[in-house]
Amino acid sequence: MKLQLKIWRQNNPDDLGRFRNYKLTELNPAMSFLEMLDTLNLQLIKNKEQPVEFDHDCREGICGQCGVMINGIAHGKPKNITTCQLHLREFKDGDTIVIEPFRAKAFPVLKDLKVDRSAFDTLIASGGYIGVETGQAPEANTTPVPQEIAEQAFDAAACIGCGACVATCKNESAALFVGAKISHLAALPQGKAEREKRVLNMVNRMDELEFGHCTNTEACQVECPQDISVLHIAKMNYEYLRAKLKK
């Protein structure tokens, strides 16, 4: 199959950037989207042109490192997948595909399609943990956790930190990412001790990092590879109010 690509090229964070057009022929519909970019890069290098830089690692949908806007949609049209799980069979022969980096003030572009998502690490460092040190833990079965609570915690913990929620949100909000971590740890008995401190610190830090506010359009869940529920945002809001009132 043949595809026309319109790809964002930007040399460095200060460069203005621009779209460039490329043509690929003899593609196989079984090829993954990232393998299509590999193919393009090989072609570019052979023509002595700079290859397109993009982030990727595990290529099986779990590490969260890949992620681009494909025709304006984070990770492409199919719901709840990562970019590496997208395959060319989702496109038609002769299609034009527009490929851009994730766009958010908190995720500056480094080069071409690579962005800096270290703001997510900063958010976790502000309180997204349970403060237990190695060797302190009591026997695991001392505190039973009802199965449904463990399952709820897992649903939230499944976030892979790809940033598609931020890239999708018209306000560039990190509410789904932060909400998922707050909800994961607040659900478990082990996370209760730091419950108030955690939510206040993480939410405040989110504001400082130039993420926008959540206005409940719920677009984030649609593009989330793990289908993290927007109800975790509601949970975060509840936890935040609760902590404020308690204070």
Binding site: S32, L34, I45, K46, A125, F154, A157, H184, L188, Q190
Partner: protein, 640 residues
Amino acid sequence: MAKFIAAKIPEGPLEKKWQNYKDQAKLVSPNNRKKLEVIVIGTGLSGASAAASLAEMGYQVKSFCFQDSPRRAHSVAAQGGVNAMKNYKNDGDSVQRMFFDTLKGGDFRAREANTYRLAQCSAALIDQAVAQGVPFAREYSGYLSNRSFGGVQVSRTFYARGQTGQQLLLGAYQALLRQQAKGKVKIFNRHEMLELVCENNTAKGIITRNLVSGKIERHAAHAVVIASGGFGKIYYLSTLAMGCNASAIWRAHKKGALMANPSWTQFHPTSLPQSGTYQSKLTLMSESLRNDGRIWVPKNKKDARNPNEIPESDRDYYLERKYPSYGNLAPRDIASRAAKEQIDNGFGVGELKNAVYLDFAKAIKDLGKTTIQKRYGNLFDMYEKITGINAFKEPMKISPSAHFSMGGLWVDYDLQTSIAGLFAIGEANFSDHGANRLGANSLLQACVDGYYILPYTLQNYLATQIDKPKPVTHSQAFVDAEERVKTQLQTYLNTNGTKTPDEYHKELGKMLYDYCGLSRSRKGLTYVIKEIQKLREEFKTNLLVLGDTYQINSELEKAGRVADYFELAELMCLDALNREESCGAHFREEYQSDEGEAVRNDDDYAYTAAWEWTGNASQPELHKEKLVFKNVSLSTRSYK
């Protein structure tokens, strides 16, 4: 004559060795700890858990990873679970039994004392992970759930849906970031270690490249810990992430650290087959599928019918036929080899005839679609996302793929390499799995090394460094190392040939897969060593990398990794050639029984082969660590 090396195993009976060690290990007072710096390369389960634990103790830690965040390390991809001896099921599990299963699974080529310690420390890990908020699967009662895994007869595997690795890593990553917020750890993401700096055969630091700015940086420390994972990506097509590489361990090797059993690579039997030459990786499907799926190929090579139209009488369920007692649940090395045999003999299925069927039709008929959906729904979804095929209607197509490196840097009981002050943990070392790793033991080893062993053994070393001068980055060793790195990077750019690093990597990977993969022979290895040498020479003069070193340049990163693979590949072949026996994942065609099973040679090869770099990739020097078995009697692995 090979030299013999000793692992410094503590005295005393097996079950007391680790306690004896801890009782006698040197300590560092809290006041002195903050004066000591440690570098940790890699932020997977072993690296993150080690860095977090050392920072909690009070050491100054620098943590490095090449990914954009420490959370991306490939530990995330482990699906199935983590083994631990809790005996929650009351099904007869014990440290002794777990030790024996691991040793037997590794075909009696691991060090007794290390394997025993792994089993001993396993229970505490589950406590630790639960306290960190890892959402393990639970029973309705609220107590932790277990399942069984290949190669054992008890249920000792803890799991968090299909994301056990991801969830364990998040626990370690969060602990790491908590220490970062406290100022105890500095994290350097998008940094790659390009050189180990040694003075007087003692590790003093590293040279890194900032992968964003391209800047070459010097970092000095009192000790260096390599936790950079495995190097199965050397085969190009593998279950590993694209960035997984051997560079950290290889560059340490070239500074004097011995490499042990480098050719022992586990091939996972249930990954998805290659669909074309453009393919970049092979996705792993959890081994748990073999609990209900039946593996078969058509009896007639030329049978081109749709699998659903091939009647039972025309199918060969070869695992059930050859291994009636374990059947489809035969260990990984055996299942992989059997699949390769079918494919090599022309019985492969699919467009490229490079796969075998994994069929759920009988399980769906016997147990109902709902049960299968509940057990494997996420895996069936994943299969459909990648292949576009619904496995409820048509058998899956699977094939073996390079997966785990049992080999790695040689370490002693302290997890210290042959360079003082250089430690290797997790998959980067060689120590616990012998010639074949059991499922769910990989996450365990990474965590146990990082949380429980290194904090004691590294401290034992650091206690000797308090009164030594602090390593400095302006020493001659650092200046020279930085110069070497800069020259090497410039060489890749100046070559200006016609082939990209990926093109070389694919060619090299194919050679290794064909001749130093699932099965090896003297003839094949001898042949392929020459081919690797030829290709390596061509690589030096015909490599094509564009751009410069002062910015993001993925191709330049790949060039360095492939250059290291070229040297490591030859060592793997020499290691496979040296070992004239079959054991675990190492199957030498000359050493097999009449029924095609592996034949070990305990008289001549009950040793770890540890190779020393001599400056010439084709002439490494062999050292042997004798494996002494005092607590088990060596038996032939049989799964018939």
